[in-house]
């Protein structure tokens, strides 16, 4: 049942005329070895196409040379960006990512985390999710841990996230500067609060921006969706039915803004002539909507990369300083100046 060439460290030791331990030394660069022997070993390795057995290595060394990565959903643009960044950040190291998908389900998430731990990963990167903070603390006590896209109160030194408050503030401020006063907001429901408090933060930023210009946030301008596109459609329907006039909509993510766009289209409401639209996430298709959508870009790839580098540092016993990331407003054509 076994495949692979079965050449072991002994074979190359024999061929190079040295002992197995010496071979191990040159391979791991763990001690000085005479030049000529080193060369002989390298040559033997090349000739026999020797591949170290990673299980034996791990068993003997106690390290798996893998980093567990727990994401919530393959196929989500923001999360995928982080994954790509992690791949980038791990590229020049000898570590390999081991991915697991929590599928937004707490039970699956915890189970996946355990499986990752069973796989004896050397470090763990968790992207978002809703695993209880206590559990994460336990994990962090035993294994290097970085949590991306989620701010944890009790363990900020493990978190890498976007300043969502300032992001929401910034978007709203932009709309205000464009002359809008009646700005609707599509957010996520209270039930999601713990999960995606990112979304709540954006909402808070929105409120603060309004207050800072003397406007009181109007609950009739705030709708809750479930972050999916379809809920954006419903959100606009809801908003319209409430009868409270608005000249702009700020959606907490791009998915819902897509739905909002469609709903407006169905109603014959023009964008941006009648209503301006701003999303969040800078999904790639946002730039190709009709009209192209203004949105806020999250540096997801960079976040992933930083996460990977940070975890490598932690594995080496350091405590990296983790930056807080900022969103960047991407101005396109879905916002017009209001009167």
């Amino acid at each position: 049942m076994d495949n692979e060439n079965k050449v072991t460290i002994h074979d190359i030791a024999e061929k190079a005329g040295v002992s197995p331990s010496t071979v191990s030394r040159v391979l791991r660069n763990s001690a000085g070895v005479a030049e000529n022997k080193r060369d002989a070993v390298m040559q033997a390795v090349a000739e026999l196409d020797y591949r170290p057995n990673i299980f034996a290595q791990s068993l003997a060394s106690g390290q798996s040379m893998t980093i567990g990565v727990l994401t919530q959903n393959f196929g989500s643009p923001f999360y995928d960006g982080i994954l790509q960044g992690i791949l980038l950040g791990l590229e020049d190291s000898d570590y390999w990512p081991l991915f697991a998908d929590g599928r937004w389900q707490p039970a699956i998430e915890e189970q996946s985390l355990d499986l990752l731990l069973d796989r004896r990963v050397d470090g763990i990167i968790i992207i978002g999710g809703q695993i209880p903070e206590e559990k994460l603390q336990k994990v962090a006590a035993k294994t290097p841990l970085i949590v991306v896209a989620r701010g944890l109160k009790t363990m900020p030194q493990h978190c890498l996230y976007l300043d969502n408050f300032q992001a929401g503030y910034q978007v709203t401020k932009y709309l205000l500067e464009m002359g809008h006063r009646d700005i609707a907001h599509i957010t996520a429901p209270v039930a999601y609060e713990k999960t995606v408090n990112d979304i709540q933060k954006r909402y808070e930023g929105y409120q603060q921006a309004l207050r800072d210009v003397g406007l009181e946030p109007d609950p009739r301008l705030v709708v809750e969706g479930n972050l999916q596109q379809q809920s954006g459609v419903l959100a606009v329907e809801m908003l319209l039915s409430w009868g409270r006039p608005f000249s702009a909509i700020f959606s907490a993510n791009d998915q819902m803004v897509f739905g909002a766009r469609l709903a407006l289209f169905r109603r014959g409401i023009r964008v941006p002539e009648d209503v301006s639209l701003v999303g969040f996430d800078d999904e790639s298709s946002a730039a190709y909507m009709v009209p192209p959508l203004t949105t806020a870009h999250q540096p997801s790839v960079q976040m992933g990369q930083v996460a990977a580098q940070a975890i490598l540092q932690m594995i080496n016993g350091n405590s990296p300083d983790l930056p807080v990331f900022k969103a960047e407003l991407i101005i396109r054509e879905s916002v017009s100046r209001h009167r």
Copy 2:
């Protein structure tokens, strides 16, 4: 440096009053064990929270219980769908996927494949890509292999793909039935032929459909893009500059159709009143474009799931029958009846 509770099979053997091998037997279910002993073992396992050391298991058994998955690009909708399917298909097994990203670069791809092999994966699923067929043959000779989204001439029994010819044919036929006669097509350039011959197949299906109703394909109606959105914009510009009238555009993927949509918008050409539009892939945002886009759905999740199940079968020594998948036309509002 080591973490994890260090309870080994010996500890639980001792606690349960049996030998280590018996413990192994009940854990692996590899042989009959007396009820009482089995219970004692299970209890000890639970009490001590025993976690088998996977390195030792792998070293001793020669199996890694992992499936290598080589994709081309995290964040690509179609590929991500396949990944999700693989996760699903592996869910009830004891195997775990090990992902690698080839990033569309042949060199990286081959390197990733080697790394996967070094990790001693028990099977490999390769999604698309352009690793030479000879190399894949070598790999297949040693390790169970499934290639998804790529049809290989010499090893069809390892391939899982969509019937792209019939898909292209079907889309074109639909357009013809809607009264269109001047149907433009956005495909991928010859340079991509080996890589994504999926795209070529769609093109061939397009041509055949035309011929079957007595129309000769007109080269002035065919443009090449690079599969990215931006190239869809350019494609339409090109088409327009050529001056050959057309009433419909069939794009070989959704990304480019998004670009095409934007280009038409810029030119003030209405969809579908002036020009009908059909994409391919059924990206989630296609349904929320203005107007919602007609496209062809590839059962990517299902393909991934089948791939996973097939690889598990191969690992068990069977040769699974691999189905050929069909695309499904998703009719939305971007196509109108022509005259």
